[in-house]
Structure formats: C-alpha cells, structure tokens
Symmetry: C2
Subunit: 500 residues, 2 copies
C-alpha cells in the first residue's frame, strides 16, 4: 500500500509512526512500573515518562500535524490514511481548543487532585477532597464548551471515551436496563436458592492458580509468542505493539476467582489488540476503537464464556487437577452457582455481573447532573448514598466506600463510566449475533474456543479504530444498541441459577 502513497501521505504516516513509537516506549515503562520496577527508580522513571509524553503531545498538536490534517483530510484515496487523519484531528482539536495556559493549570491541579483524593479516601474526609472535585467539574464544564457539542453538554465528554454515543442514546437504554435489573435483583433476593461462595474460598497456591489461568488463556487463543502474563496489584492488559500485548493479574491465595476470572477478563482485552489487522500497525488506528468496545471483549470472555455452565463442565476436571484437594468434595452445581452469586455490595470493582451496571447508573446520573449544573459537588455524598440505596438496596456508611471509592473523577475523567455499562450491552448484543452463526454453547462445551476467537477477530478485532463503536455494533448485529440482549442474557442465566 505504501507504494501508492504520495510523498505527503508517506510523511504523515512516518510522523504518526514516530508518535506510536513514543507511546510504545511509554507503555513499556508503565508496564514495568506496575510489574516490579524497583521503588527507588520510580521518581526518575516517572520523569522520563513525562518527557516522552510531552514529545508525543507536542507532535499531536504541532503545526506540522495541523498541516497534514488540512491537506490530507478528505483528500486521500487510502481509507487508512483518511481514518488516521480523522483520529489525529480529533486529538488535535481536543488539545488545541483549550488555551494552553489553562491546560497546563489543569494538568497541575489534576495530579494534585488525585493525590488529595487518595489521602481523603484514606481518612474518609470528603470535605478535604471537595474543593478539588469542584475544580475538576469546573474544568470539564469549560472544556466541554471549548470542544463544543450538540444537545446535552455531557455529550462533549462522552465523545472522549465513546465517540458517537450521546445522552440521547444512553437515556433511551439505561433507564430500561436499570428497571429490569432491579426487578431481576428482587427476584433473586426472594429466591430460596442461596449460593454458598465459601465453597470457592480457601487456600489455593498461586502457582496452581497460574497453571490453570495459563491453560485457559492458551485455549482462548492468546498468543504467548506475542505476549506474557505477569503479576501486579491492579490488573490490566497493555498492547505495546501488535506482537507484544501483555496481560497482568493478581493472585489471592484465599480466593482463586480474583486471578482466574481476572486473567480471562484481561485476556479478552489482549485478544482484541493481538488481532488488529497488521496493516494498521503503527498507525493511529492500531488500538481498540473505544473503551466500551474494549470492555465488551473482556466481558465476553469473562461472562459469556468463563461463567457459563458448559465452560465449567468442560473445565472442571482441569480445574480440580490444579486445585487443592478440598475442592474435590464440592458438588459441581454448588460450585457453579457460587461462581454466579449475585450480591449487592458497596464497591463497584467487587460487583457481580448483575449489579455492576447498577453501580454505573448511579455514577452516570450523578456526573451528568454535575456537568449540567443540576446538582452541586457538596451534595454528592448524600445523593450518592440515596441512589445506592434505591438501586442496589445498600447504603454506604462512609464516603470512602461511597462517593470517594473511584479514582476517575479525581483525575477529571467525567464521561468515562458509561463505557463500562455499554461494554456489558455490547457484549450481550455480540453474543446474540454470534449465536445466530455458530453454536456457542457447544463450542464452549468442547473447550476449544478457536471459532469464538476468530468470529470476534473477523467482526471486531481486525478493524482497530477503522470503525466507530456504534458502527461496529450495527455492522455486526444489524441493529442499534439494544439493551434487551443483556437483560435476556441475565434473566436466562439467573433463572437457572436461582430457580425462579
């Protein structure tokens, strides 16, 4: 393809390749910091990351970049270059529309705000954190005005994380999801079936958890010649280049679920990045198209593969052969039901498959109202607690396990949370579409997931950022975002588990 490029096109692609290379170096340093870099080197390393990030940022906002955008936009025959230009333009606008002095101020206050949040959460002191959160909200409101938007002001922020998704889209689906899920939750809570998660806990050596996790990753089609599995505190997957997409996990020797489901989840993210079309390598399109589509991939493997009955039927022997002897006396369905226990709790990141989306609704409604000046930061703790009680039936007794539990807002990330719930909906909708083409349950039951992985690659992975999230969704499923798939999936699943 390079042969057909004009000189200008070639220059542009070289320019963006260099930007990707900075990102790759930064990515490796980030991975290293999270997987064992010695602590005395952290400060210097963070400065190196800052310097290289600054270089990449300068390239993204340079006059040279502006020149490429002006000259190549709509003026190239290569679709990869056209989409790359659009991606670069989006980033260019995001930064260049904010006065640079204001952006510098913001970056300074942002890192202060994150540090204060950490301390305030530790001390359960919302008042300490409040002025910083207020600033973060203020900046985001102003930035939204700079960026511009149609309709609701919050759309400007959503666009950063889930391009094409608007308040209109969310408000059409979220209330329905919330209503159906709370309804489902009530049924579950009135069921006489009470899964017993204690059958899952108890001493389980790290090495054995790792052996099982590695085997599942392999069966998922994760390419170990293009990645590796390491231990960390807050697990993540990271694509450094398409031949080096790493997975990290955390081992809790008292509860294997952390590592096993965590590895599968991150493995789902990694499969996405490993299978992007090679033609997109080192272009601005060589990554997942949105946070929500990325999450749909991790959730697909975690919930639609690894929490299913055929999965465990097929893998139970392998699991037991790696598990401590005590597990051998556990009944299969006792085990399976425990893996799918629903239990409303205060903390989002510990939530089960059903209540997770309700945690997101709380956040979405509050942050939308904050950005739209309908509520004030000072009222957040009370509003948060009320919504938690209304949607999940649990009420935080401290702000640390309430409004201060997540880092996102402290760093100014408003508009991010909806992507998590969208990930659940996308995954369910992909699952329905996949079932029309292949016998998913049977494939899972055979323990060889190649057909599933290749369906996801063909329909989703390969495109990288060539398609926008809703474009992928509609191309693959032939319908618009439809929450019924998630609702049906959860209803069917819990009907079986909770027998209602």
């Amino acid at each position: 393809m390079g042969e057909q490029w004009s000189q200008l096109e070639q220059q542009f692609m070289d320019y963006t390749k260099e930007m990707s290379q900075y990102e790759e170096a930064i990515g490796l340093m980030f991975w290293d910091l999270r997987t064992g870099a010695p602590k005395k080197g952290l400060e210097g390393r963070s400065d190196v990351i800052a310097t290289l990030s600054q270089k990449a940022h300068e390239m993204a906002t340079s006059d040279e970049m502006k020149g490429y955008i002006d000259e190549l936009k709509g003026n190239t025959n290569d679709p990869i270059i056209q989409k790359s230009i659009e991606e670069c333009e989006k980033n260019y606008n995001q930064y260049s529309k904010i006065p640079s002095e204001e952006y510098k101020e913001y970056v300074l206050i942002q890192s202060k705000s994150e540090a204060v949040w950490e301390e305030a959460k530790e001390k359960n002191d919302f008042e300490m954190y409040r002025p910083y959160l207020e600033k973060m909200v203020e900046y985001n409101k102003r930035f939204a005005e700079y960026w511009g938007y149609e309709g609701h002001i919050y759309n400007a922020l959503l666009n950063n994380f889930e391009p094409g998704v608007t308040v209109d889209v969310l408000d059409e689906v979220f209330p329905k999801v919330r209503k159906e899920l709370t309804h489902l939750l009530q049924k579950i809570q009135s069921s006489e079936v009470k899964p017993n998660p204690s059958v899952l806990t108890g001493e389980f050596p790290k090495q054995d958890q790792q052996n099982f996790s590695l085997e599942v990753l392999k069966r998922m089609g994760y390419d170990f010649d293009a990645g590796r599995l390491d231990e960390t505190v807050h697990p993540f997957a990271i694509g450094l280049n398409q031949g080096d997409v790493r997975v990290t996990t955390k081992y809790d020797e008292a509860d294997f679920r952390t590592a096993v489901f965590g590895t599968i989840h991150e493995g789902g993210h990694a499969l996405y990045e490993q299978n992007i079309d090679q033609q997109l390598a080192y272009t601005p399109l060589a990554g997942g198209t949105s946070m929500g589509i990325h999450e749909s991939q991790s959730l697909f493997w975690e919930n639609f593969v690894a929490r299913t009955e055929p999965f465990w039927k097929n893998h139970f022997d392998l699991f037991l052969s790696n598990a401590p002897e005590t597990f051998r006396y556990v009944d299969f369905y006792e085990f399976f039901n425990a893996v799918n226990e629903v239990k409303p709790s205060l903390i989002r990141i510990e939530a089960d498959e059903l209540t997770y989306c309700l945690h997101i609704m709380v956040r979405y409604e509050l942050e939308k109202a904050l950005i739209n000046s309908e509520i004030e930061v000072k009222d957040l703790p009370e509003l948060w607690n009320n919504k938690m009680e209304e949607y999940l039936g649990v009420r935080p007794t401290s702000d640390s396990e309430g409004v201060m539990q997540d880092v996102h807002w402290s760093g100014g990330a408003f508009g991010y949370f909806p992507s998590y719930a969208l990930g659940y909906m996308y995954a369910a909708q992909f699952h329905s579409a996949m079932k029309q083409e292949i016998d998913v349950e049977e494939i899972i039951g055979k323990g060889n997931f190649e057909q599933i992985r290749s369906w996801l690659t063909e329909n989703i992975h390969q495109y990288g950022k060539m398609k926008k999230p809703l474009e992928i969704l509609e191309d693959v499923t032939s319908e618009k975002l439809n929450p019924d798939h998630l609702i049906n999936h959860l209803t069917e699943k819990y009907q079986k588990v909770y027998d209602f």
Copy 2:
C-alpha cells in the same frame, strides 16, 4: 547547586537530562528484550529503540550542543558542568568529525557485518566473514585519522573505551604481565596438584542457586529497592537510573558456577552504578568512568572476594544448605581448589582468572597491528592460532573457536579488548591499596562486606565520570598503573592452590 547556575548552565543541564532520559527508556527496552519480551514484538521494539537512539544522537551532535560546548567550556565555576561539557565535547567530536554520509554507510555495514559474523561463525567460514572484517578495519583506520591522535594510531581507538590509556602505557605493562603469567602457568601445569572440577558439577536446581546468589548479592550491599535480579542468556548489569540498576544472570543446572560467580560479577558492576553520587544523577557523568574501571569492580567482587578462602570458609555452610545433598560429601579444600582451577582453553569467556589476560594479549597485539597496517585480515586466522599456542599452549582447530569467537570486531569495536585486562590490573591495584587501610581477609571471613563496599564507593563509585580512569587509579593507589599487584596476587593465590 542549581540555584547558582546561570540561565545557560541550566539550559545545558536540562538538555543533557533529556538525553539521559532517552537513554533510560532505551535501557529499559534493551533489558526487556533480554529478559523475556515476546518474540513477535522484537522487530517493532528494535525500531522504537532505533528511533529514540536517533533522537539522542541528534541531540548529542546538534548545533545547540555545539553552542553549549563553545560557550561553557572553561567558562563555568561548577565542576560538574565543566566535566559534563568535556564529556559532551568528546561525544560531539566523535560523531561530528566523521562525514555524516560515511557514518551512515558505516552503521549499515556494521549491522550487516555482525549478522554475517554470526552465520560465518556457525559455519566456520572465515572467508565469508573476511570482506566485512576488512571493511570494519578500514573504517576504524579512517575514523582514527578523523578523530586524530598523538603517537600510535591505535590510541585514537583506545580513547573511546579507556580515555587516557595509550599504547605506550599498555606496552609498558602488558609484556611483563604476559611473561609472568606464562611463567606462572608453567609452574601450575607442572604441579602435582590437579584440582578436580567434577566435584562442582552435577544437578543443582535453579531455585537453590538463585537463593544462594540473592543472599550473596544482599551481603555485598546490593540494594534490592534499587534493582532486581532476572534471568537472561548473556548476563549483564544495567543502570537505568541510580535508583534502578538491574542484574541479570544465567542458570546452568549442571554447573552452579555460571550463576553464582556470574551474579557476583554483575553485582559488582551494579554496585558501582548504585553508588554514584546523587549530584551526578541525570548528568552526562552518571555512569562508570570507563569500561576498564567498571570491569575492575565486577572482577574485584568475583575474584578478590568470592574466589577467596575466607569467603568460602564463611559461606560454605550457607552454600551447602542451598546445595543438593551430594555436595555435603565434598571436602572443603577439594571444593576450594576446584573453584580456582587453572586450565588453558580456547574460549576467552570461559577462561579462568589467570589465563583470561593471556587471551586479551592475543587480541590486543593483533588488533593493534591490524589498525597500524602491519598485518592483514587474511592472515589473522594463522596469526591468531600461533599466538594462542605460544601464550596458552592450546591451538584452535577451527576459526569458530579461534579468531571468530568474539563479536567485538564484527561490530567494529577495536580498542575495546585491552579494557578487560586493565580491569584485572586495576582491581588488583585497588585491592593492594584497600589492604593498607582495612583488613580485607578478616572482613571477608566475617561475611559482612559493608566496609569493602563503602571503601569502593568512597574511592571509586561516587565519582562516576568526574575522574578519568588513570586519575582514579592514581588518586586511590598513589602510584601509576603497576601490573605487579596482579602478578603478586595471582602468584600468592596459586602458590597455595597448586602448592609450589
């Protein structure tokens, strides 16, 4: 100190800090490539390294750098800035004196030459390699002329690796060392004592070797909060920043010596980098002052600490507690003598403490004659084999284990080999000086090496590149380079082991 800097001085120090930051990112990528990066990502990663190296190179040879050198050289009150300028000027000259087209050609042929060497070594085909080696010699001769020199042309190359050391210096000491060592070797070979290295070999699980190595590293004073130990194929130590100096090692489960002495050797390099004065962090002076002084540090710990009788007397129980049961029946002196066996062999990197320097003499004499046009590449194999027979009493039967065994020349690194032998001499000379101040044997016998580590830090480590190699040597030992220290050390040692 920064407060007293002029604006120009501050700009220069910021500029060189940024250069160091590129080097740090490159260093981490290098470490990662050697310790487990997935193979499908290698090609992309190598390109990232090339891009960042190019940035650092551009900064080192820019007009801005020239400006700093012109304006600040001899015109600053800060000794750190003065030495930094000198270091930068040296690098600036090294590159800028070579016409840039010629340098680009060289870099291309260099990487080709290394690849051809690898294949030719594999196939034992010197003729295949010869034209590349001839080119590498030619380039080095031309570069030497560009760089300029006093006296012997080879001095221009020596200056790249061991600044201040000249042919005159080497030719005063090397022949004496060679004569005395070959004499010593004859005595050893006529001794009736025949150490039995088979008592050291045999199954030794990796984990147990690692446990023992980690304990020794800790006792050496290696700071694990500022480093880590990983596995690799060709072991090295690397300073990323002063709070992150990593050691790598290789485990041979049939021979613990590879990992144990290897880790101690690399640990010696790492202690140097961990203990450079914090004031030099992120300046051009934040590294070892020369390859020879660096090697003196690794060799000090390997040979003057870890191959001594008091070391093993103190560590034998710890060693046995980590070793397989078979080792418990080995007599201490049988063990100790085997650890110090002398046995001339064909391969430099497998050589013992005595014959190693003889391998270096062969290389030094040949490369000096090559650069000075006294001999030709085509005659190298024969000349090499003759010298090996003369100095070590062994004659290679193939060029793969003869003149083609080392990578150095294939990459154009002429003038590098002498540093290895200098490292032995420096180490011995430091050892003599240290013994005048502290009771080294007694300290080693107690198994707590803090006094040794702090002596090395105070006298050597802390200075980084603030002092040139011979300046350090003379400041610490109050005499010029004196090979008698090495000769005496080896004579005393082997008199005991071989009882002559």
